[in-house]
């Protein structure tokens, strides 16, 4: 059996009774060799989704398949193939890189100490210094180095670039792009820095208020999707079937369409601009749907 997707999430849901937050019926998949950008506002459910994928959170229903099968607690060989980076303090702040390496060597069969040392050197991270003396950027680079040093096939990054300055972010994005050069490697990159996703992602999955809004390939988004800038009368004349989402501004209404060429042809004189991930997110989150 050929498995095309490294990760498949089907109808996954999770409810937190105390906060009344529900992650509802999430479905998406990540093919081999691709980067999927997972976007949504703070509290949209990105971290909960990642928690359910990694079994740090117990899902209520649905299925999550990693490498073609559901990962149970006992499936340690699947976790050998996954590298994870969370935002913030991934490791105890009283550890040094040397100690971390020893611990990781005991956890991962494939831990590559030489590769870890190389990353430490490349990222200019001091080996003997305790992590509490690292800057936020350094701790994130350390976490990325650790996630890559056991030769994973799937990287799951939860806001991994959020603490980095633009130069470091660019550096890390290059590392991610190099990682997916191998055709059996993939990355699930959760971020609200949409500029990063525009640079590296092949697919974008948008989540809002615990609901999956859409998954779209970045090529589709770039070449087909668009935002129509409509006056009131133009907006009223639109076919509701063409409207994915709209947002009323002072003197115009922005309308997200899935085929900008078709929209330009159908609505003569309409101004249709390319859409960025940021704008798409704003239209879905702050706008309305028909």
């Amino acid at each position: 059996m050929i498995v095309e997707n490294i990760l498949e999430v089907q109808q996954m849901s999770k409810t937190y009774r105390k906060s009344n937050f529900t992650l509802g019926q999430i479905s998406f998949s990540l093919p081999y060799g691709a980067i999927l950008g997972f976007v949504g506002e703070n509290g949209a459910g990105k971290t909960t989704t990642i928690g359910c994928i990694l079994n740090t959170v117990v899902k209520d229903s649905g299925t999550v398949k990693l490498f073609g099968r559901e990962m149970l607690d006992s499936d340690t060989e699947i976790r050998e193939k996954i590298g994870v980076v969370y935002d913030g303090d991934n490791f105890p702040d009283f550890f040094t890189a040397k100690q971390l390496s020893r611990v990781m060597k005991g956890l991962y069969k494939q831990w590559d100490d030489a590769l870890f040392q190389k990353y430490l050197e490349d990222f200019h991270l001091p080996v003997k210094q305790k992590f509490k003396y690292y800057s936020k950027g350094m701790t994130m680079k350390l976490a990325i180095a650790a996630a890559l040093s056991h030769h994973p096939q799937l990287l799951i990054l939860d806001e991994a670039t959020s603490g980095l300055d633009p130069v470091m972010r660019d550096e890390m994005l290059d590392v991610f792009l190099e990682f997916v050069q191998e055709e059996d490697h993939s990355i699930l990159l959760s971020s609200h820095i949409t500029g990063d996703l525009e640079k590296v992602a092949d697919y974008i999955t948008l989540i809002h208020d615990g609901r999956l809004i859409m998954t779209v390939s970045k090529n589709d988004l770039t070449y087909h999707y668009g935002v129509m800038r409509c006056r009131e009368s133009q907006f009223l004349a639109l076919d509701p079937g063409d409207i994915l989402a709209y947002r009323k501004r002072d003197f115009q209404t922005d309308v997200l369409v899935s085929d900008k060429k078709e929209a330009e042809r159908k609505y003569k004189g309409a101004v249709v601009d390319p859409v960025s991930i940021d704008e798409m997110m704003l239209l879905f989150v702050k706008g309305e749907r028909v």
Binding site: T56, T76, D89, P92, D93, M104, Y108
Partner: protein
């Protein structure tokens, strides 16, 4: 498991270094002092055994501060192994504590003679120290994962008190069976009974804690 044990070691080691230094200084003091009144040596032995165990379990809080507890679940280890490693680490530090207690007691006896009334008293001191530590750990770990790392301090106090209470309760129970005093054999048997109860509670607590930890979300 090896990685988890190393992790537990690095988490506890800075506290243990300080505690060990204090225990070495105290040990020198206890050994040099005349042991005609054995309260110093009794206090030292109990402090060593319970203190090392207490340090071991108290340090678990340190990894709860960041995302490390959550991160560990994404590594190729089973949840059961994480719990087992904590129990195993506590036993290892209890052995270290017992070694401190044994060395200090042996040196004191070698220098000043045997200070206790009965031959069994030294054995009973080990029973009390080891028993208290085992009961303490058995109560602490399930509470920790049930109530959360942020309540670590109160669980530590509760489990220590429960540990001491369990030993006192068992001792009282045994004494009630022998109102007219106990023979040496009966004392040894009673001590073994207390140790057995401690080990059994500790052994039962491990799968119980695993069950609690399986439902723990991060």
């Amino acid at each position: 498991m090896r990685g988890l044990l190393k992790n537990n070691f690095y988490i506890v080691i800075s506290n243990i270094k300080v505690f060990s230094a204090v225990m070495v200084l105290l040990g020198i003091f206890v050994v040099l002092m005349d042991n005609a009144i054995p309260s110093l040596i009794i206090g030292y032995m109990l402090l060593a055994m319970v203190g090392f165990s207490l340090n071991s379990i108290a340090s678990v809080r340190r990894e709860g501060a960041g995302k490390w507890s959550k991160y560990k679940l994404t590594t190729p280890v089973k949840r059961a192994d994480i719990v087992k490693s904590l129990f195993f680490s506590q036993v290892l530090w209890l052995v270290v504590g017992a070694a401190f207690a044994g060395i200090c007691a042996a040196l004191s006896i070698a220098l000043h003679g045997y200070p206790f009334d009965r031959d069994t008293d030294i054995f009973m001191l080990f029973v009390v120290g080891i028993g208290t530590s085992l009961f303490m750990g058995a109560i602490f770990f399930p509470l920790l994962f049930l109530g959360g790392e942020e309540r670590n301090e109160v669980f530590l106090v509760i489990s220590l008190l429960c540990g001491i209470g369990s030993i006192m309760g068992l001792t009282t129970l045994i004494n009630r069976f022998f109102p007219g005093g106990m023979t040496t054999a009966q004392i040894v048997l009673g001590g073994m009974g207390i140790l057995f109860c401690g080990i059994l509670t500790f052994a039962v607590s491990c799968p119980l804690t695993i069950g609690v930890f399986r439902k723990k979300e991060y």
